[in-house]
């Protein structure tokens, strides 16, 4: 075989895989969302957006993403710079920090539920220390802020590592010479971080942010475990349409809405963090 065709042959398996398990189901979902029997209609979209919980779940999903992702970004940057400076035990620290990645999100939700519930660890600890007289129900419908906080905490704990891994790899790619030159000119550590690390980390930041933001719109199991029925999010509504109501069309329509939101945010991130032409490391 000539080398001309080799690249195409090499990407063929991935292409086939994507077509079979992404594009084809995607086409089916689209057809299900728009078509009810004959012709194209927007009925299912009208149905899901007119449901009284839709604005609430959209708002909850957005707020959660807006609260969680910036904190995760800051944390991941901090952790990545720290790891990068370490001489010894770098791998060990990295492994420990990425442990939450290996835990399924439902399990993570249940871990945090065990902390926050009425007879959970937090209550028994505060009771033991004499801070409170009797256990309080943190995760009740009367304290929506507390539920939000608990979900945000669980999400930050669970999914910061995915950004961390990408950023650590990205920082490793930045040549040492830039830092040495900066030091010669007397740049402070903060200046070096702002003027060298951040700009040169753009491609990795882009990847990490896109991945994390898209995942934030798909938050589901952690919310289900901690928020019960009082913190509806888009993914939970999709699940309810598909499995509680057996309404595949509505579930597909809502899934396409989530996809639309994800695409918009991906484009924004791509645009904001674009790497100027010719500017490579």
């Amino acid at each position: 075989m000539s080398t001309r065709y080799l690249p195409y042959v090499l990407i063929l398996p991935t292409l086939v895989f994507l077509c079979a398990f992404f594009l084809y189901p995607f086409a089916l979902v689209t057809r299900q969302a728009f078509g009810t029997g004959d012709g194209v209609s927007l009925d299912t979209f009208r149905e899901v957006t007119s449901y009284w919980k839709f604005p609430i779940s959209l708002q909850n999903t957005m707020l959660l993403a807006a609260a969680v992702v910036p904190v995760q970004l800051a944390l991941a940057l901090l952790m990545a710079t720290m790891v990068n400076r370490m001489k010894k035990g770098r791998d060990l620290v990295l492994y420990v920090w990425t442990i939450p990645l290996g835990i399924s999100d439902l399990a993570a939700g249940i871990i945090w539920l065990a902390i926050f519930e009425q007879s959970g660890f937090l209550n028994s600890m505060m009771l033991g220390l004499g801070v409170i007289d009797r256990p309080t129900a943190f995760l009740s419908y009367q304290h929506p802020g507390m539920i939000f906080l608990a979900i945000a905490l669980a999400e930050i704990w669970r999914a910061t590592a995915i950004m961390l891994v990408i950023l650590v790899a990205g920082i490793g790619l930045i040549p040492k010479e830039y830092y040495e030159a900066a030091e010669v000119f007397g740049a402070s550590p903060w200046q070096r971080f702002r003027k060298i690390t951040l700009p040169l980390l753009r491609p990795s930041l882009q990847t990490a942010l896109i991945l994390r933001v898209v995942l934030a719109f798909e938050v589901f199991a952690v919310v289900a475990a901690l928020g019960g029925t009082i913190f509806p999010v888009l993914m939970g509504e999709i699940y309810a349409y598909q499995f509680d109501l057996q309404n595949g069309g509505a579930a597909a329509a809502l899934a396409l809405i989530v996809l639309g939101i994800s695409i918009v945010f991906t484009l924004i991130i791509l645009r904001v963090l674009r790497v100027p032409k010719g500017a490579t490391i």
């Binding site: 009425q118 009740s140 289900a224 029925t229 009082i230 499995f243 509680d244 057996q246």
Partner: protein, 422 residues
């Protein structure tokens, strides 16, 4: 032929033969019931082990259960032999996809169960398999706060509220528990307990003035309910942890509490309202899909599961009661004894007002439940005006009834055609 190829042929022959017998002998029992690991194991070891053939018992969540079944039905061929599910699971299916089971020679001893099992057709679409109900349970600690003159086996809703208030006043926190979590069976409470007890109906009376009174009562009860209830799914957990002292739930979702600490808890009938003591039976059934690979083996398995001895073994394994006449042995687990007595007291009460399971809703069962769950979330959790919410939900309920054409079921008065929302 070399020795090696001979060996290859022989081993592949053996493998093929093994595959063949395995495929022939195993009846796949695809069930939404007895899902927890211990219950599934008890089904395999103590219930199905006595069957003449071998059974591959596979319990699964409702969603995946339906997804695989529908995939097999659409493909026109499948591996599932016997289906086990609640009445609601079967009523969501097209009756044509289930084998008629009239000639099987087994049925429930209850005519109303057998009528439900026809799914609106003239033939048995599934065979009633086992039954349960929703009951009340309380921590014995709470009994000292019972209002004066109240009989635990004949409580009224006013007495329940008084009791829950007294407990709250005494211990300083609300101790009534209600399964309002995502997997909780809250909708069954509204359909089978609240509405029958206050309005003597479910669909017809959905937005009546009596319904407003019912929701007002529930709001008063909610004031003494543990606010974390929106995370409670199986009330046995909160009974055991002490987060709730007085609870309502499915008898098999309370079983662990009674089995772990039988001396700490009591079971008792649901309270009564102005129109009687509303309660709802739970019915699970067995069916055979038209795509079952070995119909005879599947039929034999259904017959086996309806035998009195098997029914008692099933009771021990799952805490679901027999649907045929059986002599209950004396050495049953504490949960079964407690629940059995409470259910008997409830159905035998002079003011008993049983509400049947929703029937004839087909695939709209989930939408029907959502009407009640949404009403609860808006009225009780969000504090919206009861009349406004009920009037807002009424056309949605009417649309579901119109679309499915489901006739009224007890305690609603019978209807010609679709059950009207009055």
């Amino acid at each position: 032929m070399t020795v090696f190829t001979k060996f290859l042929c022989a081993s592949s022959g053996i493998a093929l033969a093994l595959l063949g017998t395995a495929a022939q002998a195993d009846v796949v029992f695809w069930s939404t019931q007895a899902r927890p690991a211990e219950e599934a194991q008890a089904m395999r070891d103590n219930v199905l082990a006595g069957f003449s053939g071998t059974v591959d018992y596979q319990p699964n969540e409702d969603g995946p259960w339906l997804t695989r079944l529908q995939a097999e039905l659409q493909a026109g061929s499948g591996s599932i032999g016997v289906l086990g599910a609640l009445h609601g699971g079967f009523s969501a299916l097209d009756p044509d996809t289930l084998v008629d089971l009239d000639d099987l020679g087994v049925a429930s001893s209850s005519d109303s169960f057998n009528a439900l099992a026809r799914l609106g057709t003239d033939n048995m679409q599934y065979v009633p398999w086992m039954q349960a109900s929703y009951i009340m349970a309380a921590n014995r600690e709470a009994l000292q706060y019972l209002p004066a003159g109240a009989d635990l086996n004949a409580l009224s809703y006013d007495q329940l509220i008084e009791w829950a208030a007294a407990v709250q006043a005494a211990v300083g926190e609300p101790k009534f528990g209600f399964p309002a979590g995502p997997d909780g069976l809250r909708h069954r409470y509204f359909q089978g307990y609240l509405y029958p007890s206050y309005t003597d109906g479910v669909v017809r009376t959905f937005a009546s003035d009596e319904a407003v009174a019912a929701w007002e009562m529930f709001r008063r009860l909610w004031a003494h309910t543990n606010p974390a209830s929106t995370n409670f799914n199986f009330m046995q957990e909160q009974l055991l942890s002490g987060d709730a002292w007085i609870v309502w739930d499915h008898s098999s979702r309370l079983a662990n509490a009674f089995n772990e600490r039988p001396d700490d808890f009591v079971a008792f009938p649901a309270p009564a309202g102005p129109t009687g003591r509303g309660f709802m039976p739970v019915l699970a059934g067995l069916a055979i899909p038209t795509t079952a690979p070995d119909q005879d083996a599947a039929r034999a398995l259904v017959q086996y599961l309806l035998q009195p001895e098997t029914q008692i073994a099933t009771l021990r394994a799952t805490n679901f009661f027999p649907v045929v006449e059986v002599e209950l042995p004396g050495d049953l687990p504490p949960s079964v004894q407690a629940a059995g007595a409470a259910i008997a007291a409830m159905s035998g009460a002079p003011d008993a007002n049983p509400g049947l399971l929703p029937a004839g809703l087909g695939g709209k069962g989930g939408d029907f439940n959502r009407i009640f769950i949404d009403s609860f979330e808006r009225i009780v959790l969000a504090g919206q005006d009861i009349r406004t919410v009920l009037d807002d939900q009424r056309p949605r309920l009417a649309a579901i009834m119109q679309e499915t054409g489901a006739p009224c079921w007890a305690p609603d008065a019978p209807s010609e055609g679709a059950c009207p929302v009055e």
